[in-house]
């Protein structure tokens, strides 16, 4: 028997408050857009009023510009897609001069996703962005989880001690708070979150893509030139949600930015209940560039319907099931 739904008292739409905290940060809305799925924002201005999103995470920035991987770089799979863009980006300098001003003007939370190719370039990048940002960057989102980069080592993202050391160095080099974006390709996501928390990250972003492949049986080649790519989209939502819940349970109160396969306001609420403090929308932006606003509207309506006034009222509120009545050979009804 599924237990009956707890009856919620709806509240008026106007009393739903989306403003919320992410650790030390104030967000106007918990709905952000994800790195690599929103470029540097400009293109989306044609589709919506960007000031209504909570914030955005830029395409991952490295110290020097990068050109990305050979093609094919993307392939669609069941309820998801695989990508291996290769962390193509304009580099720190061009970012600061050409892209950041536009973002700063939006007055939303600006998360600059970044990475290096080794320990030193990670730290350099954090330092350069922190200094060059001149207060216009709200978060440095450190990507230690990209499956598509050859140099730099998978260990940053999979070995807690290595992640700890790297995070610590970047936190020390940066005035801007650091959120570490973790890869799901690990045995123990909690150990990773714990390690970067202790190193001074103000929160974690969960999850990056899951390493994956697809094969063209006619050409007998991977559908992705670099053989493997990262799986995103609704297919991975159940895995992402599980990891968010694991981390939220193990590190209560530690801010989590949840992502993976969000398509609707209901998906967002699932992430809150699991323990996320804010979320990012990724793949959906490609097919529906105005998705962040629709999802915001849906979330607001759903919160009103379910009587949830503030985002934090829902965060980490997963309940359990009542135990079934004890088993007995003979029915008490007999």
């Amino acid at each position: 028997m599924s237990a009956p739904t707890p009856t919620a008292t709806p509240v008026p739409l106007e009393s739903v408050e989306l403003a919320c905290d992410f650790g030390p940060l104030k967000l106007r809305s918990p709905i952000l857009t994800a790195s690599g799925c929103f470029a540097y924002g400009q293109q989306f201005a044609e589709f919506m009023d960007l000031r209504q999103i909570g914030g955005l995470s830029t395409k991952g920035i490295s110290p020097l510009p990068r050109h990305g991987n050979p093609l094919p770089r993307i392939y669609e799979t069941a309820s998801g897609m695989i990508n291996s863009i290769g962390l193509e980006n304009v580099g720190c300098e061009a970012f600061l001069t050409e892209k950041l001003p536009f973002l700063a003007d939006l007055d939303v939370s600006v998360w600059v996703n970044f990475f290096g190719t080794d320990f030193e370039t990670y730290v350099d990048c954090a330092k350069t962005l922190s200094e060059g940002g001149e207060g216009r960057i709200d978060v440095l989102e450190m990507n230690i989880s990209c499956p598509n980069i050859k140099k730099g080592g998978i260990e940053f993202g999979t070995v807690p001690e290595v992640a700890h050391r790297l995070t610590k160095a970047c936190v020390e080099a940066s005035e801007v708070p650091i959120v570490v974006k973790l890869t799901p390709n690990v045995s123990d996501i909690v150990a990773m979150a714990q390690a970067v928390k202790e190193a001074g990250a103000i929160g974690v972003s969960l999850i990056n893509t899951i390493t994956a492949m697809a094969i063209d049986v006619r050409s007998r080649r991977s559908r992705i030139a670099t053989t493997y790519g990262g799986l995103s989209g609704p297919a991975i939502k159940p895995v992402a949600l599980r990891m968010v819940h694991q981390v939220a349970k193990a590190l209560p109160g530690f801010p989590i930015c949840g992502m993976g396969g969000i398509l609707t306001g209901e998906d967002v609420l699932e992430y809150f209940i699991a323990g996320a403090h804010c979320v990012q929308l990724g793949t959906i932006n490609f097919s529906e560039p105005g998705a962040a606003l629709r999802v915001t509207r849906e979330l607001r309506e759903l919160m009103a319907e379910l009587g949830i006034e503030r985002v934090q009222d829902a965060v980490a509120t997963l309940g359990g099931y009542e135990a079934e009545p004890a088993h007995a050979e003979v029915s008490p009804w007999a």
Binding site: E324, A328, W333
Partner: protein, 279 residues
């Protein structure tokens, strides 16, 4: 209560998709060859799936509403989630895959002359919402065998619009008590209100009755309470999440009293003796 006919998987075409009131609709499905659903027992169900690709992977369970002939049958449903949403939009000519008939149906009023459930007692059919189809089918079968008076129907919904297919019951001469939460049709209140009165009357008159119920879980829990408190044999037709419908995924466990803690809704049920259900 053994499965009456071998189950199988076969293709059907949507013959009609008829809207009823209250958001309910009836899908009429037909296969090119004779199919086993033609011989379905009331309470048995089918797993249905459209040509939906890689998402919406598993079939959806629906009670048979009517086995029209050896090739055609109907189900009644309303939009619940994605699968039923797609079914609402289906057009005549579209194809679906059917597995069934599955499960074990309701006890027959004359099936077992040994004094247990189904022993010639008057059957009080208690239906709520999408719980109507198997009981409607049960009534139809008995009517077809000239036994309209072996059953009485107690049928509840939130409002008049949610009570559907009642004309047939009238036509068949099945005694029917309707109840709506808002009083817009029949008795005002839950269906358990008139049912309680009926059970009490039966007890007073020493009349042998039994209950067959299908509907939302809170309703079934209330009906069980009423029936078993009075020693009335009570059968509940249950719904559980199902992936396969034929006993292999073990997803549809129903907690029970007895030698083992679980039975399976799809193969041991969906009709269970209210006494054995461990809620």
């Amino acid at each position: 209560m053994k499965r009456a006919v071998a189950m199988a998987q076969f293709q059907v075409e949507v013959v009609a998709n008829r809207a009823l009131t209250g958001g309910y609709f009836v899908l009429e499905l037909a296969s090119e060859q004779d199919n086993a659903v033609g011989g379905a027992q009331p309470g048995q169900f089918v797993m249905l799936r459209g040509e939906w690709g890689r998402d919406l992977l598993n079939g959806r369970a629906f009670s048979v509403l009517e086995a029209i002939d050896a090739r055609r049958f109907t189900v009644m449903l309303k939009v619940f989630g994605r699968g039923t949403g797609k079914m609402r939009e289906m057009q005549p000519g579209e194809r679906m895959t059917v597995t069934g008939p599955l499960g074990r149906g309701f006890p027959q009023p004359d099936a077992q002359p040994d004094g247990g459930a189904g022993s010639g007692r008057k059957q009080l059919l208690v239906a709520g919402g999408v719980g109507l189809p198997p009981l409607h089918f049960h009534a139809r079968r008995l009517v077809g065998r000239g036994k309209a008076d072996a059953v009485e129907m107690f049928y509840g919904g939130r409002s008049a619009a949610e009570l559907v297919l009642t004309e047939a019951l009238d036509e068949w001469g099945v005694q029917t008590v309707l109840a709506t939460d808002d009083g817009s049709r029949g008795v005002e209140g839950r269906v358990t209100v008139p049912l309680t009165a009926r059970l009490d009357a039966a007890a007073e008159a020493g009349e042998a009755v039994e209950i067959l119920a299908c509907g939302p879980t809170p309703m079934l829990a209330a009906v069980r309470e009423l029936g078993l408190a009075r020693g009335v044999p009570t059968s509940l037709c249950l719904e559980e999440m199902m992936a396969c419908g034929f006993g292999v995924c073990l997803g549809c466990a129903v907690p029970v009293y007895g030698p083992k803690p679980y039975k399976y809704c799809c193969t041991d049920g969906p009709v269970f003796d209210a006494k054995e259900v461990r809620w």
